[in-house]
C-alpha cells in the first residue's frame, strides 16, 4: 500500500493485477453494487481457477462459472434474485463438481473475514448449533474458558487475496465512498490482502475533506482504482441507477453466443471499443 501515488488506472490494468488462482472478495450483494465490469474483464482476460468469497453472490459468481473461470467459492446464499431464481450456471458448476463450494451462513463467512481483519486465527460465531454445516466444514466448537458453559463455533480465518469494491465515488487519491448500505464491503476491505476499487466517478478531494465520516475505505488501504461509469451494470448502483432487468433476462438465455453478446454489451466494453 503506497501513499500519494497515482492510483487511477484503466480497468484492463486493474483486472490484470489478479493472477489465476486468486481468491476474490467481491463487494455488494446479489444484483446490487457488485464489481460486475471488473468480473467481466477478468473473463475477457481469460482468468482461470478463481475463488469467489462473498456472502451473497449472484450474477458475478454465475457469469464466472459460465465462463469457466471459477474453481472454488465460499458463500452464504447464491441466487440471481429479483424473480430470476437460482443462478443456473453456478448451480450446474456445483452439481457437476466443477466448482467446489464451502457453504457458509453469511455471518460465519463474516466471522472468518473478521478473524483476518482483527489479526487472529479464528473467530467465534453465534448460532450454527444444530446445522449440518459444521460437520461439512470441519468447524469446531470452543468451550467458553470462563466457565459460562456456553460452547461457540470457531470459524477459521478467511483472508482473500483481493477485495474488489464497487463504489460510487473515489477521491483522486483513492478514498472510497459508498451510498446506501455498505453490505460487507467494510469488512472485506479490512480482511483482504489487497484492495481494488471500481468507481462510477472521481469526486473532488474537497468533498471528502468536508465529510470524511462518509469514507468507507481510506486511500492508504486501496491499491488501485478504475473509473467505469455504469460499472455495476446490469445491477444497480444506488442512487445512480437501478437493475437493468431486460439485460439480466437476456443474460439468462441458455443459447450459444449469449455470453459473448452480454460481455460485448457491458458499458466497459463499449467504452473500450470507442478508444
Amino acid at each position: 500500500m503506497s501513499a500519494g501515488t497515482q492510483k487511477i488506472i484503466p480497468l484492463a490494468d486493474l483486472a490484470a493485477r489478479v493472477p489465476d488462482g486468486s481468491s476474490l472478495a467481491l463487494g455488494g450483494s446479489f444484483l446490487h453494487r457488485g464489481p460486475f465490469a471488473f468480473v467481466r474483464e477478468l473473463i475477457r482476460q481469460g482468468r482461470r481457477d478463481l475463488e469467489v468469497v462473498k456472502q451473497s453472490p449472484g450474477y458475478d459468481i454465475d457469469i464466472l462459472c459460465r465462463a469457466g473461470a471459477l474453481s472454488r467459492a465460499k458463500a452464504g446464499i447464491v441466487a440471481m434474485e429479483g424473480n430470476f431464481g437460482l443462478a443456473p450456471w453456478y448451480r450446474r458448476a456445483i452439481e457437476s463438481g466443477h466448482v467446489r463450494l464451502e457453504e457458509h451462513a453469511c455471518a460465519s463467512l463474516t466471522a472468518g473475514l473478521r478473524a483476518a481483519a482483527f489479526g487472529v486465527p479464528f473467530m467465534p460465531c453465534g448460532g450454527i448449533h444444530g446445522s449440518d454445516l459444521p460437520a461439512l466444514n470441519g468447524w469446531k466448537t470452543i468451550e467458553d474458558p470462563y466457565g459460562s458453559g456456553e460452547a461457540v463455533y470457531a470459524i477459521p480465518r478467511i483472508q482473500p487475496d483481493f477485495a474488489v469494491i464497487q463504489a460510487n465515488e473515489v477521491s483522486e487519491s483513492g478514498d472510497v465512498r459508498v451510498y446506501g448500505t455498505s453490505h460487507w464491503d467494510r469488512i472485506m476491505s479490512r480482511s483482504a490482502k489487497r484492495v481494488l476499487v471500481v468507481a462510477e466517478r472521481v469526486a473532488p478531494d474537497a468533498s471528502f475533506r468536508d465529510q470524511p465520516e462518509l469514507t468507507l475505505v481510506p486511500h492508504f488501504l486501496v491499491e488501485a482504482v478504475s473509473i467505469v461509469p455504469n460499472g455495476a451494470w446490469p445491477g444497480s448502483l444506488w442512487p445512480d441507477y437501478a437493475i437493468d432487468y431486460p439485460a439480466v433476462e437476456a443474460y439468462m438465455a441458455d443459447d450459444p453466443g449469449v455470453l459473448d453478446a452480454h460481455l460485448a454489451a457491458g458499458p466497459e466494453a463499449r467504452e473500450a471499443a470507442h478508444v
Binding site: 450483494s29 446479489f30 446490487h32 434474485e81 460465519s108 453490505h183
Partner: protein, 251 residues
C-alpha cells in the same frame, strides 16, 4: 383483473394468504427483519406498517430502518428499501443484533421444512452430489437459533417441501412459524403445530399434503383478511405484478 384485486372481492389468493399471515407475526414495538430472496416477507413488513395500528421497527437487508421506499422493488434487497431511512443498518450490524439476542422477528427462507421447524436451503439429494444445488441458507444457520422468533414460508404446500426428513439441515433452532398457501404453523414444545388453515382448505387437506406429523388441537380456519390488510396489499401491489410473479396456487 389481477388476483390481488379479485382477492378484495372475497376469495383469498395463496399470495395474499402468505403475505397477510406473515404480517400477522409482526408485534408492536418489536424489531422485525426481512432479507434477500424474500419478496413475500418484504411485502408482509410493508403491509404491517400500513395495516396495523401500532409501531414497530422494520429493518431490512438493504440497510433500511423504517424506510419510506418510493416504490416496492422486485428485488427484496433493492437499495430503494433504504430510501427515506434515517440510518443505514448494514449487514454486519443486523447479524450482530440477531446473535446478541435483540432480533425479535426474522423472516428466513427455506426449501424444505421438517416437523421440528428445521430447514434445508442447501440441496436436494446428497450435499456432495446434489440433484439440485439450492441457494444456501444465507442468514439461516446463524439467525434461526439466535433470533427470538423466526418465521418462514413456502409457496408450495406439499410433501416435498414439508418433509419428515430433510435432505440436509441448513439451519436448526427456533422456527416460530411457517406459512404456506393453505396453512399457518407455529411452534409448541419444540414441534410445529397447525395454527390455522385456509378457509378454502381443510384440516384433512393440510394433513394429506404435509410430510410430517403435527398436532392440530385448537386449529381453525384462518380469519380472513381485514379491510385494512386487503387495502394495504392492494396499495403495495396495485397492478398485481408481485402476485403474478409469485405464481402461487392453492393447489
Amino acid at each position: 383483473m389481477s388476483e390481488a384485486v379479485s382477492g378484495a372481492r372475497g376469495d383469498w389468493s395463496g399470495f395474499s394468504y402468505i403475505v397477510t399471515n406473515l404480517a400477522r407475526f409482526v408485534r408492536p414495538n418489536e424489531i422485525t427483519f426481512s432479507g434477500v430472496n424474500s419478496a413475500l416477507p418484504m411485502l408482509a413488513c410493508l403491509l404491517a406498517k400500513r395495516a396495523y395500528p401500532f409501531a414497530f421497527t422494520y429493518i431490512n437487508v438493504a440497510g433500511g430502518v423504517d424506510p419510506n421506499p418510493s416504490a416496492v422493488p422486485i428485488s427484496s434487497s433493492d437499495p430503494v428499501l433504504a430510501e427515506g431511512s434515517r440510518a443505514i443498518f448494514a449487514n454486519e450490524d443486523f447479524y450482530d443484533l440477531c446473535t446478541r439476542g435483540l432480533m425479535d422477528l426474522c423472516f428466513l427462507g427455506a426449501a424444505q421444512v421438517d416437523g421440528l421447524g428445521r430447514t434445508n436451503v442447501s440441496c436436494i439429494g446428497d450435499w456432495h452430489a446434489p440433484r439440485v444445488r439450492l441457494p444456501g441458507g444465507g442468514g439461516g444457520a446463524v439467525m434461526l437459533p439466535t433470533a427470538r422468533r423466526a418465521v418462514t414460508w413456502r409457496t408450495e404446500h406439499s410433501r416435498r417441501t414439508l418433509v419428515e426428513t430433510l435432505d440436509f439441515v441448513t439451519a436448526a433452532g427456533g422456527m416460530h412459524g411457517v406459512v404456506t398457501p393453505i396453512a399457518v404453523f407455529t411452534k409448541r414444545e419444540g414441534r410445529l403445530v397447525l395454527a390455522s388453515w385456509h378457509p378454502e382448505a381443510s384440516l384433512d387437506e393440510v394433513r394429506d399434503r404435509t410430510g410430517f406429523a403435527f398436532a392440530a388441537d385448537g386449529a381453525a380456519p384462518t380469519p380472513p383478511p381485514t379491510p385494512e390488510e386487503r387495502a394495504a396489499l392492494a396499495a403495495l401491489d396495485p397492478e398485481g405484478r408481485f402476485e403474478a410473479d409469485a405464481g402461487i396456487r392453492l393447489r
